[in-house]
Symmetry: D2
Subunit: 363 residues, 4 copies
């Protein structure tokens, strides 16, 4: 890894994407740190950045080591309306942690903001934009490399976010948490993408709420929408690390298993290699994950696209491609799993014969 | 948590068990750190303790915070025959990490040794005992609180281990990686337990290779074997965090999903609460986990047995009992999940309709 | 049952449908008689009408007793090109059997023709219409009550069939074996329905190839297509008795389980009651089944719609509504199943833990 | 088929078995005729033999055609205590139907009696034997070829039945409806078999309540029990046509799907070929089926054992071995299924992604 770093010496996000590079995002902080004991489900707020900075630093390190080129500030929901007086310290500390770890490798720092729960009740553009700006002031002070508006259910609010983010002068990415059926105001994915690009986003896509397959289906619709409108933008996908063929429009939060019974749905590393390959084929060049995406899933993206990128991530020192690390096992039937065919064709059993394959979403 | 600690000031493992306390073990280091990027599957060796001590320290911290009363030294397979010249540094560093973190709470340090791959080919008692003694010298020098012989497929070799461990004068625990069918020499679980206790183990049980249900079935057989022989010992269980109803005698390593496609089998926290309750009912008082057991699984043991123990672990500050953290959610159908009945009765879907429930073991 | 019958004394098919009656079709002869030993899979030809008339008569009787108002002549594929010199005798014998049994109750006789395998290779309208006319001459001579063009993959060929059937002067029904994606020439279901009605069909719909859920989805599209075109017609559905959520455009023949491993997919009687209710709600008034539909499935339609129709079928003397026949069982837990709630909410297990829920279609 | 027949001219059941012949039983009348509309679930009585003799005759014909060498009288539960004054006519008519159809081929007639519901409440040997004798008087008058005591949950009552059956002087077979756990008085399968043979049964085994796999496991235990006791007897198995890995001691009646939601559990013909082969390997030579066994399942036994027996059954004129009838299909991917490998390895999907693989038995 690089011995020094910082925004001035690294290629910027648009430089990378414009030159055709694959940029690997990071994975999910909320679910991963919930399992480690530092985030409370339901609240889903990032006070761990000040309460337990070592735990957050360690997770950043793991994503960096797995191949992430982006350290997203752990500032989800960390706006004034959610976190009261603590909000400013949290945003600042999150920026510092992301910068500190990003500097140990080839990763940029991205400041992220997300939707406000108040939008649904009262679409108060002025109030919402004001809250966005508070977080942005910290990001600007901390000089993040670029900014992301993520986890928006409504294109209208996402557009407001992009408009505010543009004021920073930094490159703007925008991802919505929608599936192929579109946003909660019934705006189709293609139209959402068009609105975001017209508002000034250079990078558009989806994050969270849906698994790899559904997210890529949505990306395809976004891409087609942009093409039909004669617009160009970089594409970005950060899907769940969970399989969700049985979700309705609301995504995984409506599944009865959310959030404490999602284990059987977790994607294998091989599922994620397929996701990375398909995203790449679709023309998506900013590929990462969201809830359920753990460091080894990010490594799987980096390994799948190593031929195109020309290098493996640091964590691959501990991972043989396609299970090759098993080739020295003493039992011949375990050695027989040290090959691509085994893992590519495996249909993993759940060990749960009393459980169904699919759920009926609540509501 | 306690601000200071050490073996001299803490109640020893036998004091605790003799007085009827529940002792909570820790979870799995190999699988957890493999996913975080620090352990290589196939090798399964703990060189991370010197290469990436922060990653190991952090995992110890998470288990401590989740409620573990035992910090097991991360020394699995760290014997001279596996790790060449590095073995001594690794054992020493592992002891220091376990001691450092254990001192931050109410946790004892346990030095662990495991079976030698050479046993199967050449049952050389002298050579094998010699290798055990090398690791033990480090544990003695580092003054661990007690010692564990774990992951033995053959009672004969486990007895050798217990005999060597007894030489330290420290309390000895011994767990075998067997299922209800018994060891690889066809010694039944009850007979295995009897041999281990006769050899000097104060605590006996099983770890690894089988999931919660099968492990408890084996424990029941061990208990019955001891009763029939008129022996008493403390019982200990550290099952996999994976469901394995479809395993044969060899356990999970024979499943085609091992080790890179186990995701759908991961136990939920609610599964582990049932496991903890059933273990307790069976009279097992040393309850922990092995591969697949992550910090939140350990927390689930601590939460399930909080009524008996009288306190919750530190990590429960981020976890409402039985999903109660969801009770402030804006969507009523998600709020409806904030209760025991929902999670206790949930049969979680895999989201994988092309996959079966069970696998046929290889070999 | 009526002691006498015949076309002259019964209400015709259009009289019934025009007056709002529900007409219950029959079920599948090919699959049912294959299991009974009288039809060869692959060939799927009805030589049993001359070789084993008692077996065919018995199945007609069972459908009549279950509530069918239509005895379809067992003439599937019984055209000159498939059956050589035997074709005429088979068509005649099939008409006689259908008439004989139909006369024992309130059932009409329908003569059925289906698609020609030659269509795909050479769309020879003249040749194909000529083959259709040969079968029709027998139907006319035997004076069937109405005629059905069924199992067409291409609207174009179905239109040819309808044009020929119109020449008989009898009411014409036309059903295609397509799913929601439309016909094999990419004509959507709505457009197919429009073409069939414009060609002269009074009754249109689907039969075979797809299960209850998919078939009703297609019917909805047909209905909407007709409404959009300002056309009216009676709607008819005769779905498979198998669940097929995993079929592609080609339907169940592309599933690897077709035709000898379909058992786990067979619909329960309760599944069929739902199908009947949903078909009714959609405005479909000619409701029957195709392959996999056995007599008890037809009875389930008749029982579900008994409130609307005002009577139960003869076979209901051997069937208590919603399992009520279990209420005298000696075991209380079996008696507890004698109620609608049990069967309506049951998710029946397959007893096959090594099998997946869904298949990937071949081709 | 033979143009004439009768007990005097055919080889008797013991002659056949003594000479090493495989005898193929018939399948299930109750479930099959329930689906056809002639038997009422819950009651499960055979009044159809007088009410609808054609339907019963037809099913006998189908089993004969599929290869059955035994026409069992359809007299299940047809004892005086269940059927009041009708009982005698029903037993007589059932014998006539079995004889009439059996005479059309190489099939013997077996008169069957089964357990009394009164046994559980009051073990009145005198009363129960008296009821058995009433049925037997009809069987004797109608001169059946041999007699079967079937569907007994308690060895004690089965022994009473055998004792009464022995009075007829005809060969006696006895099958219990138990699984590997033994009878309802906790008598193990081996001990049950021993008691039955000691009481005078020449043929012993199991029927009903459990699927193919469990039934063969029970047969193995019976065989071992007889061997250990130094007894010899012919072995007979007539399992369910349903898969029941999830049954407890009570068998399939305790499953929540019983009796109206068993469809996903129905065995394929290929499952039954395995069952026939394994039964044969175990030394069982009287192989048939019970509830859920339809004519094509019996044909599957006859086809699997055709190499040993030297001939195929009549119904195989409509069935190519291992799917070979598909080899003339126009679609290449369907033709590809015309081979043993496809069907032998197929794991058939249920098409029911919301349903589990296994159920928890009631009670």
């Amino acid at each position: 890894m690089a011995t020094a770093g910082g925004p001035s010496t690294k290629k910027g996000i648009l430089e990378r994407l414009d030159s055709g590079e694959v940029v690997i995002g990071d994975g999910g902080f909320l679910f991963t740190l919930e399992k480690r004991g530092y985030v409370k489900a339901g609240l889903w707020t990032p006070e761990a950045v000040v309460e337990h900075p070592n735990a957050v630093r360690q997770l950043h390190m793991e994503f960096l080591r797995a191949g992430s080129n982006v350290m997203q500030t752990f500032t989800f929901s960390a706006s004034e309306d959610n976190m009261e007086s603590k909000w400013e310290d949290i945003n600042a500390a999150a920026c510092d942690l992301a910068r500190e770890v990003g500097a140990k490798g080839d990763a940029l720092v991205a400041g992220g903001i997300c939707q406000k729960s108040t939008y649904k009740h009262r679409k108060d553009e002025v109030r919402i934009k004001k809250i966005f700006r508070l977080q942005l002031e910290v990001f600007t002070r901390k000089n993040v490399d670029f900014v992301i508006a993520e986890y928006f259910e409504h294109a209208e609010e996402a557009v407001w976010a992009v408009e505010v983010l543009k004021e920073t002068g930094k490159p703007v990415a925008a991802t919505m948490c929608i599936g192929p059926e579109g946003d909660m105001n019934n705006v189709a994915p293609g139209a959402c993408a068009v609105q975001l690009v017209k508002a000034g986003a250079s990078i558009v896509g989806v994050n969270c709420r849906f698994g790899p397959t559904a997210s890529l289906k949505t990306m395809k619709l976004m891409k087609e929408g942009l093409q039909a409108a004669g617009l160009t933008a970089h594409l970005m996908v950060q899907s769940l690390g969970f399989h969700t063929p049985d979700c309705g429009k609301g995504g995984f939060v409506d599944l009865p298993e959310y959030p404490f019974g999602m284990e059987p749905r977790v994607a294998t590393r091989w599922d994620i290699q397929k996701y990375a390959r398909e995203a790449y084929k679709l023309g998506v060049r900013f590929i990462g994950g969201c809830c359920g995406f753990e460091p080894y899933h990010i490594r799987a993206i980096a390994e799948e696209l190593a031929p195109e990128r020309g290098f493996l991530p640091p964590a691959s020192e501990k991972h043989g491609s396609w299970g090759s690390g098993l080739d020295m096992h003493t039992k011949p039937w375990i050695r027989a799993r040290a090959r691509k065919e085994h893992w590519e064709n495996l249909r993993p059993a759940s060990g749960r014969p009393f459980c169904p394959s699919l759920s009926k979403p609540d509501a």
